[in-house]
Symmetry: C2
Subunit: 876 residues, 2 copies
């Protein structure tokens, strides 16, 4: 006997979601609960996988299984495919493990042909209903199964209405609809070259194939990538005998939630239409009425429905989203599922269910998708306002939230506009650089044409909690960069646009937004999460303000303080440039001497903000040329300011040129060549710590000095020696007891491969998974945009490895480094400070890999806290 691919609803249950898909499993569960579910069967997700394995064909064994189950369904319902007396009509719907809006939804009324319709008209004594059902079926089948454009059919309807001189579809008679069905079939033949199928079985196989195919359409692929759904899952297909909400005034159809999906308020919420099929509710031609009205129209059915809703919510122990149909006064349940909800509703429902005793605190913590927290921490578009807006382009969702405002093209213009009182500024750039920081700060949203999820714009925007869409390659700037075109429109400075940093969508004009609102439920839930969490959550913060912000979000330390981000302030950039241009150690030391008090001040501020929580400071990382101007005018100005010849300065800049700056003279390599930089930074870190510790002797202040870009234990030892010699001398002179740690980023593959050696010197490892991902994959995040789309389209990559840690490759290096590091130094402190620290699936990987903490940008701290709690709970 072959594999079982098909299941009657009565053969399944809710635990079989992987096999039957969400919809199928729940139809089975409701059937088991004795609820009024039209009978049917589910073709499993494994059949979908077979379909693709077999070269997009339904294998013969599955075909004959399907025919066998149709026979079973015929026996159960007493109806028959193509039968004139009592025809079996079915709906066909897709249903994956996870709900997927990108896929085919539904085909209704399958099984009709001209003869059957004729008979159906007689049987129901309602010819108009019968012919309307038939023309709807042809229309739906043509569109969904054969991809014949809907517009063709709409035109035929409009033409006929004009001919008849009527306004509304409902004014068309049974005869009209029959004529329309003929015209539709002719259109079908013209578009596809084939006759419209009259055999119910042919129609069925066509529909099933269409469902399987829809698993792999572009929208579905994009949705899966955005939601971490593997393409190997496949979709199930549900074949269910039809019930009709459009059989007259005692029939109807509707959708309802057991609680309000926007607010989470308890109570039945939904709407329905009498004498209608599902599509009418959705299409918006007629206005549905609130579900409460049903109590007046049919109190018996209303009571029955309320009981079912309550049973389902109690059974599933979560808010339900249901579809139902009333056929001539009799209620049928067509679907139930855990309802989608806004972030605010998710928090309210979870806490309410705990208060109602329906679920435990643990279950509440596990119930919330950590990613939705973004929405309660950032402004969002008003849902109603967004409904009518069409995106003019879609970039990468680089930093979540919504922003709406007027375009500026330079950081300077942004600052000027802000000084002039402008509140809503959208900074649009080819790409941003550290010099743009101030302008980014005053902007509500940032849009760039280049750069990935971890480009400068993306990282900085996330740190500030500012909405950002990056890498929107479709933007074309005018040569003088005073305008850009997108979606066929040209935008100049002052024009309005809106950005959705959560989806990457960009809209023309101003769209209303609603502010972030952190509710009491948020705090309750996060407190529960923290009580189960075992892994620490730190933040990546470079300034006292960032650090303070992150503490509000629950950060338990700083995992990455990037010292270079402090260097771009106007009062510092001059000194750093002086250092770069220096020709001798003495000149360089003189310039560093100017930077010392500023850096020390920065660190004091950060230590103060963190009140003794651990702070990891990374020594200077980027290549020095990043601090030099590139524009000829700016270079000339700098030469003047520095009092050196333009020729000398140009020669210096040329000598710093790099082919591949990512893999160039940066990180610890700077300290090997210019030890005085490491000396200055160590002094600033340690002197600041001494000052703060003196002011707060009770704080447990242990600075963690992190040496970046290490690939060999000897280079770590070399730089560590600079750090220790400097630090120990200062500490001894101060006569204070100040423990400190020296560790390294693990961000170069070689460091992971030789972590046993590295750990002889490193007192902690912090996985820099941004760079580690770049090196392991061999591509630069700034350049990958040119080919990644093709990789997604061809399903080579299913997710962005810079957003979701590649466990198969990069993860192996992390695991190797953890193992080797602990081998040498069992108590080594392990953490992650790459962008992945704020991604739930990556947080889970870090938990399983045995890391002590994750560190992420301030606004992601709550996400990481919740994700870490879920990992700990799931581990039990």
């Amino acid at each position: 006997m072959g594999k079982k691919y098909l299941y009657l609803f009565e053969e399944g249950n809710a635990t079989m979601r992987d096999l039957l898909g969400g919809k199928g499993a729940n139809l089975a569960e409701m059937t088991g609960l004795g609820m009024p579910v039209p009978q049917g069967f589910t073709i499993s997700t494994e059949a979908c996988t077979r379909y693709y394995e077999d070269g997009e064909q339904i294998a013969d064994d599955i075909r004959s299984d399907i025919l066998e189950y149709i026979t079973k369904l015929e026996a159960k319902t007493g109806k028959k495919f193509g039968d004139i007396e009592n025809p079996l009509l079915v709906s066909v719907r897709s249903g994956a493990r996870a709900s997927m809006p990108g896929m085919m939804d539904t085909i209704l009324n399958l099984g009709l042909n001209e003869t059957v319709t004729e008979a159906f008209a007689k049987k129901t004594n309602n010819p108009r209903f019968a012919w309307d059902s038939y023309r709807r079926f042809i229309q739906m089948y043509s569109d969904v199964v054969m991809e014949v454009s809907k517009a063709h059919f709409e035109k035929l309807i409009t033409d006929l209405k004009a001919k008849r001189g009527v306004e509304s579809d409902t004014d068309l008679t049974a005869e009209d609809l029959k004529e329309l069905a003929d015209q539709f079939k002719a259109e079908y033949k013209e578009s596809t070259g084939d006759d419209f199928p009259t055999e119910a079985k042919d129609q069925l196989f066509g529909a099933i194939k269409a469902v399987f195919r829809s698993w792999d359409n572009e929208r579905a692929i994009i949705y899966r990538r955005m939601n971490d759904i593997p393409s190997s899952w496949g979709t199930a297909v549900n074949v269910q005998s039809m019930v009709f909400g459009n059989m007259g005034e005692t029939s109807g159809t509707g959708v309802a939630f057991s609680r309000n999906p926007s607010t989470g308020e308890k109570g039945l919420y939904g709407e329905y239409l009498m004498n209608a099929q599902g599509e009418d509710v959705v299409a918006g031609v007629r206005t549905p009425v609130p579900i409460g009205k049903l109590e007046e129209q049919n109190p018996e059915v209303y009571e029955q429905f309320k009981t079912i809703v309550s049973t389902l919510e109690n059974h599933y122990r979560d808010m339900q989203d249901m579809e139902f149909t009333i056929e001539e006064g009799k209620l049928y349940m067509l679907q139930t599922r855990n309802g989608k909800r806004t972030a605010a509703a998710a928090l309210k429902v979870a806490t309410d269910l705990v208060d109602e005793g329906m679920i435990s605190e643990k279950e509440a913590v596990l119930m919330i998708d950590p990613r939705v927290l973004d929405a309660v921490l950032h402004p969002q578009f008003d849902a109603a306002a967004l409904k009518s807006a069409k995106p003019i382009g879609t970039g990468l969702p680089a930093s979540p939230g919504a922003a709406t405002g007027e375009v500026v093209f330079t950081a300077e213009a942004a600052v000027k506009a802000a000084n002039d009182g402008a509140k809503n500024i959208i900074l649009v750039r080819l790409e941003t650089s550290p010099e743009d920081i101030e302008g980014m700060h005053v902007s509500k949203g940032i849009l760039t044409a280049r750069g990935g999820m971890t480009s400068h714009a993306a990282v900085v925007a996330r740190g500030m909690g500012t909405c950002c869409v990056s890498g929107l390659g479709a933007i074309k700037f005018s040569e003088d960069e005073t305008s850009f075109t997108l979606g066929g429109k040209t935008f100049k400075a002052g024009d309005s646009i809106s950005l959705d940093g959560t989806t990457g969508n960009v809209y023309e004009g101003l769209i209303a937004t609603v502010d972030a609102s952190i509710s009491g439920e948020f705090k309750r839930l996060m407190d529960w999460a923290d009580s189960y969490r075992t892994m620490k959550v730190r933040t990546n913060a470079d300034t006292p303000a960032d650090a303070a912000n992150a503490r509000r979000f629950g950060a338990e330390g700083i995992g990455l303080c990037r010292t270079e981000h402090m260097f771009f302030e106007p009062d510092r950039i001059a000194a750093i440039r002086e250092m770069i241009v220096a020709d001798s150690v003495e000149q360089r030391e003189a310039a560093l001497e100017k930077l010392l008090p500023m850096q020390r001040g920065d660190f004091e501020g950060i230590y103060e903000a963190m009140s003794g929580l651990p702070v990891t400071v990374r020594l200077l990382d980027p290549p020095l040329h990043e601090f030099l101007p590139t524009d000829p005018d700016d270079i000339a100005a700098l030469a003047k300011e520095m009092n050196i010849s333009l020729e000398n300065l140009n020669a210096k800049i040329a000598s710093l040129h790099e082919f591949n700056p990512m893999m160039g003279h940066r990180g610890c390599r700077l300290d090997v060549t210019y030890p005085e930089i490491g000396v200055m930074q160590t002094r600033a870190i340690i002197e600041a710590a001494i000052n703060v510790k003196t002011a707060h002797p009770d704080w447990d202040l242990v600075p963690e000095i992190m040496i970046p870009l290490v690939g060999d234990v000897k280079e770590l030892a070399f730089v560590k020696n600079i750090v220790k010699t400097t630090a120990d001398a200062i500490i001894e002179e101060a006569g204070i007891d100040l423990p400190y740690l020296v560790g390294t980023m693990i961000e170069i593959p070689r460091a992971a491969l030789t972590a046993d050696e590295i750990a002889t010197e490193a007192e902690f490892f912090s996985f820099g998974t941004n760079d580690l991902t770049q090196m392991t994959f061999g591509f630069s995040r700034d350049d990958a945009g040119s080919f990644l789309d093709a990789y997604y389209a061809n399903k080579i990559y299913e997710s962005d490895p810079f957003a979701k840690l590649d466990q198969n490759g990069v993860g192996k290096l992390v695991e190797t480094a953890v193992k080797l590091g602990k081998q040498t130094r069992p108590d080594i402190k392990l953490g992650i400070c790459g962008e992945h620290g704020g991604d739930p699936s990556s947080v889970d990987f870090c938990y399983k890999a045995g890391l002590a903490y994750v560190s992420c940008s301030p606004f992601r701290v709550p996400i990481a806290r919740l994700a870490a709690a879920q990992s700990a709970l799931n581990d039990k």
Copy 2:
């Protein structure tokens, strides 16, 4: 009892080289053979390691051991340190495992002070000799131990000779020399601030420390890096009682070889000086006489020496290089070692020793350092001419051999000069690019200011066998690039320079060269090597000419044919640019259609040249912008040629800009985005194979198509599908039986980490260790020059990871990939095509890792053959 750090000569033997160093082990061995060796002891290399571990201090336990051994030596010789009757005088010499010219050589006459000298004068009845010995000791000790400049002492001698009105040192009297000794001591005090040590033990500890220190001076570090000697080895110190060749006319000293070190001819070869110390022979003030003369001067000693030489050669079974001293008619042996020899001599000695029955063929194969073969394959500087030349700069030894000629600054100028009949052209560039190929071809040598050992210039030059020095950062070009300065001199076009691609040295003017000469011995030795070798040796060749050349050197196939190198020919670059600029698939296909016949022709030529040996062709690898011009004039010309607007072309070029081209849109990523490129290349490869196979049905032609830069099995599968679909259709249409393989480079860390998955698709792996090294270390070979010097100087790296495979990091990835690859596909074909394929230690690693072949540039094929033979022999 502590560790044993000291050994009397009689306690050691030749097998203890690791501990006693080469010199010490051989002195011990000669002692054991009963030869006349002045007694002494060796301080082991472990004492040197201790010295560094203890913070550059001689530990107390070793100090007391040394004093104990001095007492033993005193007892053996009957002499005593500081004794007026019979003073013990010693020499102190360094001696590492491997001979190292960068280290301290010798201090003689240690133990003398004023009182002892006085007594010594009486005892020897030769006051002039005694005072001369003393002043020499002061001079040597000051220079070597305390780094007081020699010039100071030379000036004092010159002044005294002027005062006395004499010409020669030998005209100075005993009194003069005594006065000089006083002046020297005063100079010593002035330079060092201390009195010259009078205690023999203080002198001894000073000298021992100087030897230890010299292990780590800059010259020694550079020498070690160039010769793969780890810094952990340390040096031994030999303390030996003095014998004097300058005691009068029956005394003398000399050096001799058991065979001629230049030619390998059998027979005693060397020179000596009577009444002299070793330094006199070297200094060249007096002219030494040929060793044969000794037969007349002292036939008894000559016979004794000849017997010793013969015994030693038979004992060591290799040509010996010896030092001896005759003290008042008595012969003493001071050193023996296997003699350094030219490459030609090495081959002759090895084959002669086989013919003489002294060694086996296997031993002959193991005797030759594979790296010396470079010298017999390339022109070299005439040794005599080179002696008087001083390098004006030193770059990287990028491609071996010597070249001398006139400077040109552009590839065009090189071509023009060649057309005008110039024979000796030296192309000097900031860096080379593929456009320079033709100019490089006509040049005798190539010098670049930028780029590492695997830069474009280096790779291409090695392929052509042309001398190249790369990455000479000290070169400063004038702004208009019509001249450069180096070593304080300015060079214009037409000025003469000479390059040594084996050392990296650059000289002013023309230096005579001797041509490469492949001898009969070379062939004999390579045949022996091949008979023991188990690993195949292929070559990296991109043209039929390269391929033919490599076959002459014994290549057994092509491991890497880089298709892009064919694209720069003037007739192709237009088509490739047309393809890049194309806006649609159709335009791109049209341009590719033009390239197809040319590529097919290339491959036909290569298959023909290889007569059915395996040929691995790599699909297009570099990012497309490498093929576009960068100069504004060239861009304008191209726009005109392509008949597109300058604005459009500039926009296209801008859109191809990459921040990190190394990690950008290249390799298989090109085929994913533009499958039509892969289709065209596959067609060319397969159609050419069909044509050649049709002409030579007996050839076993199996094209190997290699997909570069793979990081994920899915991208390999995607491109492989393009290749197979195309190839299978062509083969089927041709109705021919043509097997072919599809495999991949392993050059991205992720590919190595997931090699089990990759091997499900790949039929072979070729390790691209250039890129793998870059990604694993996280630095770009083109940019590393700015910091690598600091890494070498600080002993962080001891060798260039692009020249010698990093077994600890990159090697781990190779081993992982081999293991995982074989796990999935036990018969997977494994090779290496990175530059490391021609480096002996890396070849040995490949052998141990289980690779089936190495592939390297044509001129390195013999090196790889010999190295692979040695690996196989050493494995037994």
